[in-house]
Amino acid sequence: MQPAIKRDAEFEEKLKKVDEMLKKYEGQKGVLLQVLQEAQRIVGYLPIEVQKKVAEALDVTLSEVYSTVTFYSFFNLKPRGKYQIRVCLGTACYVKGADKVLGRIEQELKIKVGDTTEDLKFSLDACRCVGACGLAPVVIINDDVYGRLTPDRVPEILKNYE
């Protein structure tokens, strides 16, 4: 389930900021990745409107922009939740039961990996090793890191973000 994309005044405001950012890079070569990273930082995700703007400013085709966006896992085509939950599925976390923690989060939020709750509060992703293997298994919610987790601690942690 993905919530509908809102195109309100706030969204228009963000598009304006993207335009300003693009001016810095206009005509430069080899900056597509940096531009997309900045655009996502501003808008939160990369809807087709933003990709079109990027393509125009850098004088590359939209298909090239789209193929790059879909290649890298950090870029989102759809809006993400207010709280982004990332469950580390690196090897150390995996052998210490990260899949079970992930299963419990899915069950609690009633969404699957890659999805966002309908109220746009939480989105859930499995992520690659964050290098905090000493604390395995690890879950990151926005900038908060939770380590040495067990499935039964999941509900109490999610409560912090109600």
Binding site: K29, G30, V31, L32, L33, Q34, L36, Q37, S67, T68, F71, Y72, S73, F74, F75, L89, G90, T91, A92, Y94, V95, K96, G97, K100, G103, R104, Q107, E108, C127, R128, C129, V130, G131, A132, C133, G134, L135, A136, V138, V145, G147, T150, P151, D152
Partner: protein, 597 residues
């Protein structure tokens, strides 16, 4: 300069920061102020000390007292006792597992005693955000030495003679790589640092970038001088925000002091470094894919030759080394090739940093001389397997590596021995697995990873790993067929022979190595439809052993699907229809009354 009688070093690496070292540091600052010790005691942030599991970690010098799992509420006691009265706070000292004794200094601990820190020499010792601390610890002396006393060829000869091999995976001789890049024709050349540390379970590059960023900058400048480059790029994964921040600070400081930029140290040598962030694609750790990504494109590998040393970034000769490789360069220049070559073994010189994790007591980063045995690393440094469980295997080399069984524990760690054992050095992840880890499930885990990260350019990797994964999925689901093992083997052989880049060529390794050492587990899944380790959900059921159940109700509380019922103080029962096999009850039961079958 201010002189302090004591220094408190608070680890602010990713691990300790996640465990809450920032509030601890603030508490120290406040408490020291309160006691009027601000002119006597200095609180400093530092990089990773290695024992991440026990964080937040702090060290108090001059004694070198090591306190672990420090909380803000412990701080008043440490200040009052240790810093005011001079008495060590015993309860916060590290406790060695084998002996019932608390160890006072970091250097007394088995975990540290066996280490030899070359690449990590400054991690946990200096403040990575202050260039003067790096300089005070011989920083940029190697750069000054090469610029004033050595010719580019002498630099390369020194690196070649040291025997240093690439620390990122393949183990290619570093000096030879430098020579290729120097000899390649062209006016414009580039130096690139591969900081796209993607192997799950490996975090040494992150710790170096966070704890000692200047060593990488210095080494890249030395490399630039040696091959004749004026520009360098550091490609860092987006998952490492702290490393990015520290690098930005370091580059800025180095530029301000004329250690990067034009006319470095007044010698006329020009070199500058720029940062590029990854965006979450494992394949970008492959050098040709990494170059494509720096150029802002999809990170797809291309066939080699031409090698990047001849045709790299924007078609120009490019030298690519990994973070840990660079971290070894300044000490080699300062102490000489002979010193470096005296460490390690005949064919693998120097030290290697390993990230030990998984089912092991001391998880964290260790740097050991090459040739140390796996047993020494796992039992003496790592402190063995927790909860009295049996060691089953150690996985090295990440998704490109393999699982090494107990029978090979006395094998010395070298590039070649690991390859012979069906694994590889890789970037240095070392994940320990115990009797509860299913080797078929682990093979599936890695193949899921490579399948997910395959860029899709070449069919052997894109389609072949998918077919292998499908077979492993049906085996772990209890639907394996006779002939599946042979099919896996033939697919693996063909993928290894025909895939375009390192990712695809090594993707079958986790399957091949587990088949080599744990074939019986595959057979049990296929023929008996059983998972001997009790890990594959489809093949196990949970039951309550009535004799052992005290009816305490703890399992009822943790069960997320209300599958467990029973009267208080009476044996409980699990409803198999409702059971999600989440393992919560098994972990929670204090009486061992839950059985997995």
């Amino acid at each position: 300069m201010e002189i302090y009688r004591a220094h408190i070093l608070v680890c602010r690496g990713t691990g300790c920061t996640a465990s809450g070292s920032e509030p601890v540091m603030e508490a120290f600052e406040k408490e020291i102020e309160k006691h009027g010790l601000s002119k006597e005691v200095k609180v400093l942030l530092t990089g990773c000390l290695g024992l991440c599991e026990l964080g937040p970690n702090i060290i108090i010098y001059p004694e070198g007292t090591y306190y672990c799992r420090v909380k803000p509420e412990d701080v008043p006691e440490i200040v009052e006792e240790h810093l005011v009265k001079g008495r060590i706070v015993e309860r916060l000292l590290y406790k060695e597992r084998a002996v019932e004794e608390r160890m006072r200094a970091l250097t007394d601990i088995n975990f540290y005693k066996r280490q030899k820190r070359v690449a990590l020499r400054n991690c946990g010792l200096i403040n990575p955000e202050i260039i003067e601390e790096y300089i005070a610890n011989d920083g940029y002396r190697a750069l000054a030495k090469v610029l004033t006393e050595m010719t580019p060829q002498q630099v390369i000869d020194e690196v070649t003679r040291s025997g240093l091999r690439g620390r990122g995976g393949g183990g290619f001789p570093t000096g030879r790589k430098w020579q290729f890049a120097k000899d390649a024709p062209g006016d414009i050349k580039y130096v690139v640092c591969n900081g796209d540390e993607g192997d799950p379970g490996a975090f040494m590059d992150r710790s170096i970038l966070e704890g000692d960023p200047h060593t990488v900058l210095e080494a890249m400048a030395i490399a630039g001088y040696a091959i004749g480059a004026k520009e360098g790029y550091i490609y860092v994964r987006a998952e490492y925000p702290l490393a990015v921040k520290r690098l930005e600070i370091a580059i800025e400081q180095a530029r301000e002091r004329g250690l990067l930029g034009k006319n470095i140290l007044g010698t006329g040598f020009e070199f500058d470094i720029f940062l590029r962030l990854g965006s979450g694609a494992f394949v970008c750790g492959e050098e040709t894919a990494l170059l494509a990504s720096i150029e802002g494109r999809r990170g797809e590998p291309r066939p080699r030759p031409p090698f990047p040393a001849i045709e790299g970034l924007w078609g120009k000769p490019t030298l690519i080394n990994n973070v840990e490789t660079y971290a070894n360069i300044p000490p080699i220049i300062l102490n000489g090739a002979d010193w470096f070559a005296s460490i390690g073994t005949e064919r693998s010189k120097g030290t290697k940093v390993f990230a030990i994790g998984g089912k092991i007591n001391n998880t964290g980063l260790v740097e050991i001389p090459m040739g140390t045995t796996l047993r020494e690393v796992i039992y003496e440094i790592g402190g063995g397997i927790p909860n009295g469980k049996q060691f089953k295997a150690v996985q090295t080399g990440g998704p490109s590596g393999g699982c090494i069984p107990a029978s090979l524990l006395d094998m010395p760690i070298e590039y070649d021995t690991l390859t012979q054992a069906g694994s590889m050095m890789g970037s240095g992840g070392m994940i320990v697995m115990d009797e509860d880890t299913c080797m078929v499930d682990i093979a599936k885990f890695f193949l899921t990873f490579t399948q997910d990260e395959s860029c899709g350019k070449c069919p052997p990797c894109r389609i072949g790993t998918k077919r292998m994964l499908e077979i492993l999925e049906r085996v772990t689901n209890g639907e394996g067929r006779e002939g599946d093992i042979e099919l896996l083997e033939s697919l693996a052989k063909n993928i290894k022979a025909s895939a375009l880049c390192g990712l695809g060529q090594t993707a079958p390794n986790p399957v091949l190595s587990t088949l080599r050492y744990f074939r019986d587990e595959y057979e049990a899944h296929i023929r008996e439809k059983k998972c001997p380790a009790g890990a594959c959900k489809a093949l196990i059921t949970y039951e309550i052993i009535a004799d052992k159940c005290k009816g305490c109700g703890l399992c009822v509380k943790v069960c997320p699907s209300a599958a467990i019922t029973g009267e208080r103080r009476q044996p409980h029962a699990i409803d198999r229809e409702k059971c999600l096999k989440c393992n919560s009850c098994f972990e929670r039961c204090p009486f061992g009354a839950i059985a997995k079958k």
